[in-house]
Structure formats: C-alpha cells, structure tokens
C-alpha cells in the first residue's frame, strides 16, 4: 500500500508539473461554467415568467432544473477530458523507458496499477472540486436541497472512477498516448450508450445491456438516492478494468 501511494504521489507530481493538467482543468471549468450559467439563466428566466403569470414559483426547483442538468453535462465533459489525463499513465512510462525502473523494483503489479489509478482519480477529484463553486453559488442564491447534491457528487466521482479505470486500461495497451486516449474515449462512450441496444437485443440480453450502461446508474444518485446496486455496479466496473489492466501488463511482461 505504501508502494501504491509512492507511485501515486509521483504521478500526481508529474501531473501538476505538466501543462496538460492545467489545460484540461481550464477547458473543463470554462465549458462547465458556460453550460451552468446558461442553465441558470434559463431557470431564472422561467421563474420570472412563472412569477408573472402565476404569482408563485412552487413548481420550479433548483435541484431539478439547475443542478441535475449541470451534473449531467459535467459527466459528458468529463467523458471528453479524462482520457487526456489517463492516456499517459502507462503509455508514457513505456515510451520513456521508465517502466523498466518500475519492473525492476520489488513492486507488485497491482501496486503500480492502483497507484496510477489513485493519481488519476485524485486529479479528477480536484477538477470536480474546483467546479463545485457553482453549487456554492446556488447555495448563496437560493435553497437547493443538500442531499441530492452530495449523492450527486458521489455518483459523479464513481462514474469518473469508471472513466479513469477504462483510461488506465487503455493506456496499458500501448506506448502511444494518442492511441491510449482514443481507445479510452471509445470505451467510455461505448459503455455510456450500450443501453441503446437493449431495444434491439430483446428481453433478456436487453436488460443486461441496460444494466451495463454507465449512465443508467447515475439517475438515482442525482435524485438523492444511494442504491447499493448502483454502488456495487460502479465499484465492480472499476475493479474489472483494473483487473484487465493487470492481465494485460502481466502478459506483456511474460510474453
């Protein structure tokens, strides 16, 4: 565990030393803020209208009309951004020959993988944390419910963990960062939309596909409900991809 932490710390240092992190975070924050304020603007426009016509704004709810769509959009932006962060995990080590340092050290492969995952997810956590100023803004303006916000963030973090898991896996496949990013992006998008095939697939398989779809499990989180089956789904999703990474790296080592 100490080893995983050592690896994670080094990786984080290299994120903060490189412009990639700052560029990704800036782009992420700009786009997220743009979307958030547009949604907020639309909301205030509607509530003014509702006030004028009905003399009340009971039906308009900050959580449902601002936070939920903002979070949804954040998940899409993360889908686009995280592959750029994860692409270097292993690809860069292999390309720069530093992977031999890790391999010749008394480390377990799982420590290396977990360290890499930990570094990425921490960086992503930081990005999400920075974006939470938007919620703070809402707390000043109105009275959104806190529960769904907390569970919403938990859901986002779990889903981001899935993206990172797929990204680390993609990075283990190649020594080319671009290829790693494209594969990670492909995986993430595919796992997002896999539920679309459930109609065509028929009853049994369709349900499985629906269950596998990443986006299907976020809804309850955004509504303020923590369902164990969703948590289990996300955690096993992450674990599965880290396990695949282990298999890939192990087979590369002994090929």
């Amino acid at each position: 565990m100490r080893n995983a932490w050592v690896i994670a710390k080094r990786d984080m240092g290299s994120y903060f030393n490189s412009p990639v992190f700052y560029v990704v975070t800036t782009v992420f924050l700009i786009i997220y803020s743009f979307i958030f304020f547009n949604i907020l603007n639309f909301f205030s426009f509607q509530s003014v209208q509702a006030g004028q016509f009905q003399g009340m704004n009971v039906g308009l709810n900050l959580n449902e009309m601002v936070i939920e769509p903002s979070f949804h959009n954040m998940l899409v932006i993360l889908l686009l951004m995280i592959p750029v962060l994860t692409m270097r995990s292993f690809a860069d080590e292999k390309k720069g020959k530093t992977y031999t340092l890790l391999l010749s050290s008394p480390l377990h492969l799982k420590e290396i993988i977990f360290g890499k995952f930990l570094a990425c997810i921490t960086v992503v956590f930081l990005m999400i944390l920075l974006s939470s100023y938007s919620v703070g803004f809402l707390l000043i303006l109105g009275q959104p419910e806190i529960g769904p916000i907390v569970t919403g963030y938990l859901g986002i973090l779990l889903m981001a963990g899935c993206y990172v898991g797929m990204g680390v896996f993609a990075s283990s496949l190649t020594d080319n960062q671009i290829i790693a990013a494209v594969i990670a992006f492909g995986f993430s998008l595919f796992m997002w939309i896999i539920g679309w095939a459930s109609q065509a697939a028929g009853a049994g398989l369709g349900e499985v596909l629906q269950y596998l779809s990443l986006i299907d499990h976020i809804e309850r989180f955004l509504k303020g409900i923590i369902d164990t089956s969703d948590v289990v789904y996300y955690l096993s999703f992450i674990f599965f991809f880290l396990f695949l990474t282990h298999r890939v790296l192990d087979s590369q080592r002994w090929r």
């Binding site: 240092g13 290299s14 391999l103 050290s105 008394p106 080592r253 002994w254």
Partner: protein, 311 residues
C-alpha cells in the same frame, strides 16, 4: 551467486540469445563484451526479471527469476541501456522516488539519496530538472538510481556511455570501490573499458558465448601477434614484398600504396627493422606505430579460432 543455464530468448522467430550458460560468483566483477545486437541487454533484462526467457533457467542467490522475482528484485540494482529517468523530476525527488520503490525505509531515504549524490558526483545538479541535464549527467543519475538501495548485485548496461573521459575514470574508480562488497555485471563494447574494470569477461557474439576467460587469459590469447601501421611519404613498388622478407613478420597488408599493416610476432621489436629498411630505401617514414586490435578483430579472431578448434 548467479547461475545461468541454457538461457535462450526468442523475439518472434529470431533468437537473441542461444543457450547461454555461465556462473557469476559472489563479489566478482564480470564484463559482458559484445558487438551491437550480441544479446547483452537481452541477457541483462532477463537477469533483472524484466523479460522472461524462452528457455533455460536463471538462479540468483538461489531464487528463480521466474518464480521468485520479487526476492531477486530486492537484491538487484539495474541500470538499463536507456537510463529510466523521468524528465520532469528533479534529481533529488527522482532519487527519493527510486529509493522508496526499491524498498528503502522512509527514515533512510534521505541518507541513501545523499550517499549516491555524493558517489556519483551529482551534488551540484541536485535541484536541477533531469530533462535539462546533459547526457552524461543523466547517465550518472541513472547510475545513482541503480545503487540507491545498496543492492548486493549491480547490473549495469553500458554504464560509461556518454560520459567524458574524466567521468569515465571516476566511474571506474567507483566500480572498483563497489567491487569489494558487491557482485557486479556490466556490459560494454569497448575492450579497454572492460579490461580496466572486470576480472572476468564473457564475450558474446550473435547470441552465443564466444569465450569466457579471465582477463589475463584473454589478453594472452589475443596477443599472440601484434600489428604495426607503417605510413610512408614516398610511394614505391614492392614495399610490401620487402617488408614481408623481414624476420618475425607474419603478413603485410597494403592499404593504398603508402600505408601498410604489418602483422608480426609478439614482442619481436620488428619496428627497428622496419625503420632501418625504410631508411635504407628512403621511403620516408611518416608514421610507425603499434595498432591495438579493434573489437571487430577480436571477434573475428575468437570466432575463427573457435571454429578452427572444432574442425
């Protein structure tokens, strides 16, 4: 300490090394000598548990590289062919990282770091970014990394490549120092390099061991004859033939009409006779010197001799 038996490695259909068998004893300094593509790096990678062998066994301190690689990795310090450096880290933070993943306890990390900074003369660049250091300094950081955890066994793949002559001497001294308490394997394609450091040399050629010999034996077998280069000002016919008539001259190769490579018996002082002859015929000596054998010659010689014995 290190027992290698029948080690074979295929990259696809191509064998990189074929059936290597050798031993390295505790405290020995052994050199791998071989031309490009001989399989030196491949062998070292296998010893360091980075590559699996296709066939054969390697035992280090009684542990098998395949089954118990973790134990072995604790005991080995490895400097690969391309030093495994993170270009965005500073020298100190890199060395601290290396110390930690090599299993140095937290409270000894700083001490280990300072020790290798000192040994590899890196004090002045300790706060610099590795990516901006010159090649030689990077090589030294790589070397420092390999001994950060004071391993029993050091495996160094071309440790002095890219260093300036002063540093090469420093590193040789360092390896001499380490040799008293460590087992060291290093590779090179420069003969003098190896002869300065190693007590025993394993010569690899084309994935096979061409010779295993102590340094004295090797030098003796190579020094059955020596070579002279003669360069003259005035070209005239028949110089080669005339040289050939001298005692102790084995063969003469004309390289152009003013340059001659004379192969002669060891310690026969043919120079005197050659000089005399040159004066008599007023060839005008421009240069007359002994030529040390290139690695290529050594391989040719060794491989040819081995074949000669077999036949």
């Amino acid at each position: 300490m290190i027992e290698v038996e029948n080690l074979t490695k295929f990259y696809g259909p191509h064998p990189a090394i074929k059936g290597l068998t050798f031993n390295v004893n505790q405290g020995e300094v052994v050199g791998f000598l071989g031309p490009n593509g001989a399989g030196k790096s491949t062998t070292m990678n296998i010893l360091c548990c980075i590559l699996p062998a296709t066939a054969g066994t390697v035992k280090i301190c009684g542990f098998d590289v395949f089954e118990q690689s973790l134990e072995i990795r604790k005991k080995i310090g490895y400097l690969p062919e391309n030093p495994p450096l993170y270009p965005d880290m500073t020298v100190t933070s890199y060395l601290e990282f290396a110390a930690k993943i090599r299993g140095v306890p937290n409270n000894k990390v700083a001490a280990s770091r300072d020790r290798v900074l000192d040994k590899c003369v890196l004090k002045d660049v300790r706060h610099r970014i590795i990516g901006r250091l010159s090649k030689g300094f990077q090589q030294r950081v790589g070397l420092a990394q390999s001994m950060i955890h004071d391993p029993e066994i050091l495996i160094l793949d071309e440790p002095t490549i890219g260093l300036d002559p002063i540093q090469i001497i420093e590193i040789r001294k360092l390896i001499h120092e380490l040799a008293s308490s460590h087992t060291i394997i290093l590779s090179s394609h420069i003969l003098p390099e190896i002869t300065h450091i190693c007590k025993r040399v394993i010569i690899l050629n084309d994935g096979e061991i061409a010779a295993v010999d102590s340094l004295e034996g090797l030098t003796a077998s190579l020094n059955k004859s020596e070579r002279l280069l003669l360069r003259v000002r005035n070209s005239s016919n028949g110089i080669a033939d005339k040289l050939q008539t001298l005692d102790n001259v084995l063969s003469v190769n004309a390289e152009g009409d003013k340059e001659f490579m004379i192969e002669c018996a060891m310690n026969s002082h043919v120079q005197d006779q050659v000089a005399q002859m040159a004066l008599e015929h007023s060839w005008g000596i421009e240069e007359l010197k002994t030529v040390s054998m290139t690695l290529e010659d050594i391989f040719l010689k060794l491989t040819l001799e081995e074949k000669g014995v077999d036949a």
